[in-house]
Amino acid sequence: MTGLARLATTGLRNRRTIPWPAVPRLPVEEFRRTVIEAAAEDWRLVSLFGMPDGDRETRLVAVLADDRQGELGALSAAVPDRYPALTPECPAAHVFEREIAEQCGVVPDGHPWLKPLRRHPPDHLPPGRPAPPHDREAYPFFRIAGDELHEVAVGPVHAGVIEPGHFRFHAHGENVVHLEIMLGYQHRGVERLLETEDAGRAILVAESIAGDTVIAHAEAWCGALEALGRVHKSPRAQAVRGCALELERLANHIGDLGAISGDIAYAPAAAVFGRLRGECLNLLMTVSGNRYGRGLVRPGGAAFDVPAEMALEMRGRLIGLKAEFDRAADDFFENDSVQGRLEGTGVVSAAACRDLGFVGPAARACGVARDVRSDHPWGIFRFAHIPTATAQAGDVAARAVVRRLEVVRSLEFLIEQLPALPRGPARAAPPAGLAPDELAVALVEGWRGEIAHIVITDAARGIRRWKVKDPSFHNWSALAAAMPGNAISDFPLCNKSFNLSYAGHDL
């Protein structure tokens, strides 16, 4: 059977596990060819990562998705301290291979942009491989020389209240010729904590991967654990978690429209959207006791239920919120000088999306209609379908339009679901233990895009590998791709139009 055929028959799906031995272990050349071929056809690279395999080898694992069929596939290969890179023929692998190099001490030969990613010593090295020398400060920036070019460095500490990251521009006057983004400043060692801490502490780490994406990461973390622990959530649990996810989406999308307004100095819209964002956070606080929903999503379901009275009160607030939002959004999108700033700024092409694997609203704004809630639905999204929002131009305006559409659709979803939550318990018993030697994949459509928590257990029912992918891992490259050709003064606007997570990327 060819590698591609084996990929298609692993039987892996979102929230379903397969035995780890059932993941084909191929010679690296065949692994490489299969992933490249798959990515060129119907498959999308969800994750490519490494883990120690025995004493001296690294097992490369690729998880791919066929979004049209709602199927996943997995492949693996064992490699020593180097292997031929996939990136030259599969550009979507570029950040994954830099991550493998850094985490596992492996060199992907032929990678066109092999640089440190998060700037930390290897933490997934096989015991028998000597640790390569490591220098946290060494980062080779791409340089362009020229009398009329200047190099502008921004960060890690930024002007406003924002996470740290470094941006290196090459500009010709005002026009940006090249942007390189160097991150890693928010690296805290999340994956090793998730692999070594007990579940009681690990959920608190999962909620803290990205502080504005508490619900979605907790949902993925719990989803993986529930699959491995054979825990079935009640319909009510699924509905409450789905509502929390959509509240999180609302808070962030509305906040982003406010931030975009702020960056083009349209203060009235910034003020209204900023206030409405707070009202969404307050709804999460009503349910969970925390503005970001911490404490709510737990293995087995939702730690807090939404009694009928609370659900109706929340629905009333959402109806009021929708009316205000609609008015503010109409004002914003019908304002010529606003649209003048947004249209044509920070354009990303659909081809770049597909080649580099962008996800979420940034991809949907280029017409690339990928959304985990539609393609690999889980929980309530198998029953309540939220239409996928797309736009075409791939510019700041399109990313703003997609957010607006998603706000309206999430509001409609919540207004419909809250008075109709299914009967039953909000939480089942958490898993008593995990199945041994299995691979689990939990995908979630976080508000920035696809989140993946990929877990492999060992024979002793312990965690062998916990791989986290935040959508920002893909999408920081979209910002780098969008900037050339724009004025450097449009950088804050472009940055806000993506609003990527530094912490989510850095882990």
């Binding site: 805290r188 060692g189 006791g289 503005r291 911490r294």
Partner: protein
Amino acid sequence: MLRMLMERLRRGAHTQPFPTAVVEFPDRFRGRPLFVPTRCADGCRSCAERAPTPLIAFGTGGPPVLDLGACLFSPEEAAACPNGAILYTTDYRMASRSRDGLVTPSGEVELVRALDRATRRLFGRSLRLRSLVAGSCGGCEAELTALGNVVFDMARFGVQFVASPRHADGIVITGTVNPNMRTALEKTYEAVPDPRLVIAVGACAIGGGPFRGSPEAGAGVPAGLPVDLYIPGCPPHPLTVLDGLLRLLGRIEDGSRGRRGERSVSA
């Protein structure tokens, strides 16, 4: 444009009347933790064994102490006591002038004493702060950003974030102070002219937060840096931060929770 102006006139102001009005938090809000000694069973150490954080610590014999600086405000930290001796109040006031001030037998924190008179004369009506994010999840920063919105409007108290340490009166540190941001923190601190304040916001900045123990996370603000204000939370509610800042500046009287007869507003 006209429509927008009419809308503004129609809606009126949205700024929360803080600190004059009493703020009501929802029932489930996890504010300052409280230890109820009458519910604590002799010899039982369930809390210290089961809690996912070192919120509760037992000294040599004697009752436990609560460390708000180690608290992640998760339901599980309170649920670690099978007898309900640990619970969360809806009190949002938790800031302290000292690290030790966050470690108490009951969870009650001495409300923040204002800065000395000379410093209050400098900063009391105009405090410019530099944000330094050093290995965080982004949650605390989101709440600090919210402080600038029309509801919390910290600018009406003269508190603002500035774009350079040279323009700042102090730094607000969030995050664990991980290896990758250690140097940036030191350089930023050195660049702030004297007199300067240091404010540690959130569990990570106070003690490493959820990442405590990771070799790639720090244990919070390093020992050498003198901290003027500690604000616990994960993340702290904007009003917890604002309350701490205003008390530091002497803008709220000791113990006051709003004038008698003043209305209450929801958080």
